[in-house]
């Protein structure tokens, strides 16, 4: 199973790419073929937020369950991956915004919220880099990650104050709790979101194993 999972994942992602360009129709009210980038941008943004929440959960586990190094490692790797997917979401979003809004960056509330979240988690990694002792690094980073979990929701209340009108398209599930989307677009979007989520877990597992091996080698060297 361990060997077949990556192949299944790559097969699934290939199918999503084909589906995004040849199966799903172009979305109405979008300029040209710009809507196709959303099949990648939306799942990247989702995985980024999912990774940050997962990082906070692993941080909490680290503090509650005897400060095991594997929980700290899992939290750090999740946040690294969250940053990676967050940067990709910002880049793909900017490409789309240039076509659709005429500017790479617009201080749209959702753009800004993601950017500030990325700044926060980049600070988390800076903190980890500034502490040598693993135990101290684990507890300080876990406390900071949990503080971030408290502050982050405020971005979503506060940012719309800077720009009350958003040009961003409606979320997949709109304010009336309805999904107003072509069925084939929705199918590809959900398939892509699933693919990116599994990709996150696969990368997370690989990176955690690699980090554990590196830590063991360091220990062996003394």
């Amino acid at each position: 199973m361990k060997k077949t999972l990556p192949w299944l994942l790559w097969l699934w992602i290939s199918a999503v790419i084909v589906g995004a360009f040849y199966y799903a129709p172009l979305a109405a009210k979008f300029i040209g073929k710009s809507s196709r980038i959303l099949f990648f941008h939306v799942p990247m943004a989702w995985v980024s937020f999912f990774a940050f929440i997962a990082g906070a959960v692993w941080s909490l586990l680290y503090l509650l369950r005897g400060r095991q190094e594997r929980h700290d490692r899992a939290a750090a790797v999740a946040i690294q991956l969250g940053l990676l997917f967050g940067v990709l979401a910002i880049v793909t979003g900017s490409l789309w915004a240039r076509i659709e809004w005429g500017a790479w960056w617009n201080w749209d509330p959702r753009q800004t919220s993601l950017l500030i979240s990325l700044l926060f988690y980049a600070a988390y990694l800076a903190l980890r880099g500034a502490v040598d002792d693993p135990e101290k690094r684990g507890r300080l980073a876990a406390a900071y990650a949990l503080l971030g979990l408290v502050v982050t929701p405020f971005f979503y209340w506060v940012m719309p104050r800077l720009a009350p009108i958003t040009l961003h398209p409606e979320p997949v599930v709109n304010a009336d709790a309805k999904v107003e989307m072509d069925t084939r677009i929705l199918q590809v979007l959900l398939a892509s979101t699933f693919a990116f989520t599994v990709l996150f877990f696969w990368m997370h597992n690989l990176q955690c194993r690699l980090q554990a091996l590196l830590a063991r080698r360091e220990e062996a060297r003394g």
Partner: protein, 232 residues
């Protein structure tokens, strides 16, 4: 109820007040934080005022720009002085003695109270000078005082936990700004909006409630997370 339980609250409060008194005694002995905060704020204020020129800004521009400048001056002054509360304990190797002599929650509250009085003193010094120099007409002074109180408390509460974190890391000075600014950003946006409303004479609106909620959340979680940060 155990015999000591009835005395728990007075003991805890006495510990917090003892930490607060100790902080001020040390501060008045050296006056490092007071001088750093005060001089940094006054210098930045003068630079901002000189940069705007002798005529300053028009009233319409002023209501938008001047509250932002005021809070940026306060934020950077806080970043220059507040981390010292914990950094000094690590540098002078008194942190271990403090760990043994005070419960973490009392220590956090004592340090927070100290930071709060420092920020309040800074605001009391800077705001009147700023309003005078910039010719800022405030239509609702009561709201401005409310914004300064709630904003100052948020700055102190957010900074206290971050100061405890960076005190145990390398490159403390730069790390404080990097770690605290993303946490303080929602507070800044809310407090700038409140200050702008005070200048224009508009009602406080939802911003005041959200600011108080921010202050309460950061204080409660700061208090809960502090023992993790403080105790090895």
């Amino acid at each position: 109820m155990s015999p000591g339980a009835s005395n728990w609250i007075p003991d805890w409060a006495a510990e917090a007040l003892a930490v607060f008194a100790k902080e001020w005694r040390c501060e008045l002995r050296t006056q490092v934080a007071l001088n750093t905060l005060g001089l940094f704020a006054v210098t930045t204020l003068v630079v901002a005022s000189v940069s705007l020129g002798p005529l300053g800004v028009s009233k319409s521009q002023g209501s938008a720009l001047l509250p932002v400048l005021l809070w940026l001056i306060l934020l950077f002054s806080v970043a220059a002085g507040l981390p010292r509360a914990f950094v000094q304990e690590e540098e002078s190797q008194t942190a271990t003695a403090l760990r043994l002599s005070a419960t973490p929650s009392a220590l956090f509250c004592g340090k927070l109270l100290y930071s709060l009085t420092l920020v309040a003193a800074l605001e009391a010094l800077i705001t009147p000078i700023y309003v005078t120099i910039m010719n800022l007409e405030v239509k609702d002074p009561a709201l401005l005082v409310g914004a300064l109180a709630a904003g100052g408390y948020g700055l102190a509460a957010g900074s206290t936990l971050v100061a405890a974190i960076i005190a145990q890391a390398r490159s403390k000075g730069t790390l404080f700004s990097v770690l605290s600014f993303p946490i303080l950003l929602p507070l800044l946006i809310l407090v700038i909006e409140l200050t702008r409303n005070a200048v224009l004479g508009d009602p406080a609106g939802l911003a005041l409630g959200q600011l108080l909620l921010y202050d309460a959340s950061v204080s409660i979680f700061g208090l809960m997370l502090f023992p993790v940060v403080w105790n090895p």
